[in-house]
């Protein structure tokens, strides 16, 4: 728009009814003063030169035309959202694992990792569950909470749990049979130290609550008469 107006534009041609103005085209020509503008410009309506268009680079014809018309797949810019954590799961909650090797064990929730999995620990001394990742869907959250405010969990993320990459060595025929009895992979010492550091603090909090240690050491199971849909966890 050319100039800012201080007052809103009042039409020179009020409507008689919608679609019909009060003044005819010739009357409006006179009212708008187009005759005066023309007279000022020597009988012709003034015309300004258009702004010069920015010069674009000259496009060369391509050197190579592909033989077949291959369709390009549509661009997918979807970024999956981080897994929503259930409101009942907060740091320090006691969870019941529902599947896997530690099925039924009651375990302390530490934090949610960037992949959406939950970082969880036994503590190891109490029930044998190490620092471990667990999916939210395979877990029941109880309403028992432990204070874990003093523990530093920054070093634990998904890369900490990634598998170690072994460099494969070429084996000769004789060595193939020997290699069957490779020694079992031992847990590296620094992971054991990490476990101890996290657990030391947790065990202190747990000892503060009576019978909580025995609770975490015991497994959960459904007994006769327990109705899961009526149980309050």
């Amino acid at each position: 728009m050319a100039a800012e107006r201080k007052t809103p534009i009042k039409t020179r041609n009020p409507d008689l009814i919608r679609g019909v103005g009060k003044y005819s085209r010739s009357k409006m020509y006179h009212k708008r003063g187009l005759w005066a503008i023309k007279a000022k410009n020597g009988g012709v309506f003034p015309r300004h030169e258009p702004n010069p268009k920015p010069t674009t680079a000259v496009e060369k014809p391509p050197k190579f035309y592909p033989a077949d018309d291959v369709k390009k797949p549509l661009l997918n810019k979807r970024k999956p959202k981080p897994t929503k954590l259930r409101a009942s799961i907060t740091p320090g909650t006691v969870l019941i694992l529902l599947a896997g090797r530690f099925m039924g064990k009651r375990v302390v929730f530490l934090k949610q990792l960037s992949s959406g999995l939950l970082l969880v620990t036994g503590p190891f001394k109490i029930n044998g569950v190490p620092l471990r990742r667990v999916n939210q869907s395979y877990v029941i959250a109880t309403s028992t909470k432990i204070d874990i405010s003093g523990v530093n969990l920054d070093k634990f993320d998904d890369r900490y749990f990634a598998k170690e990459v072994e460099n494969k060595k070429k084996k000769t025929e004789g060595e193939f049979f020997e290699a069957e009895k490779e020694d079992k992979k031992k847990l590296p010492e620094d992971k054991k130290e990490d476990q101890k550091a996290v657990d030391a603090f947790l065990i202190k909090s747990i000892d503060g609550v009576p019978e909580l240690k025995a609770y975490l050491a015991a497994r959960f199971s459904l007994k006769s008469g327990m109705k899961p849909h009526e149980l309050v966890f």
């Binding site: 109880t142 309403s143 028992t144 909580l212 609770y215 959960f220 009526e230 309050v232 966890f233």
Partner: protein, 134 residues
């Protein structure tokens, strides 16, 4: 054999079914053969079918369709709440509610306590048996 709990004005009843399940209400008027006008300190007075009510042993002395204030005063005077909570029926309901709201940790603690108690009882029993046998 004769009936002991009658539908009368002032009879305290327990609601058995519907939105107000578990509430103690007072029969304030009888509408017809099947329905009563019923009131409680924390609800709007309304009609209820007798089939939804379970009569209790308690009765308070109120005029027919009393004002809410008179009803509350009469209930305080008769001490309905405490009498109800000390009756075996009322105590049963409280225990049921407590059991339903138990945490997983609470259930574990109760299990340990039961085992302990059973152990103590068994020890005493063994002692008594020994005394009796000798």
């Amino acid at each position: 054999m004769p009936f002991k709990r009658y539908v009368e004005i002032g009879r305290v009843a327990l609601v058995n079914y519907g939105k107000d399940y578990g509430k103690l209400v007072v029969i304030v008027d009888v509408v017809d053969q099947n329905r009563a006008l019923v009131d409680a300190p924390d609800m709007v007075r309304g009609q209820m079918n007798f089939k939804r009510l379970q009569l209790t042993d308690f009765k308070i002395y109120i005029p027919r369709v009393p004002k809410k204030k008179t009803l509350i005063e009469a209930m305080e005077k008769a001490d309905v709440k405490n009498k109800w909570e000390n009756s075996s029926w009322g105590k049963k309901l409280i225990v049921q509610k407590k059991r339903a709201s138990l945490n997983d940790f609470d259930r574990f603690k109760i299990m340990l306590a039961k085992i302990k108690k059973a152990g103590v009882v068994r020890q005493e029993l063994a002692k008594l048996k020994k005394e009796n046998a000798s």
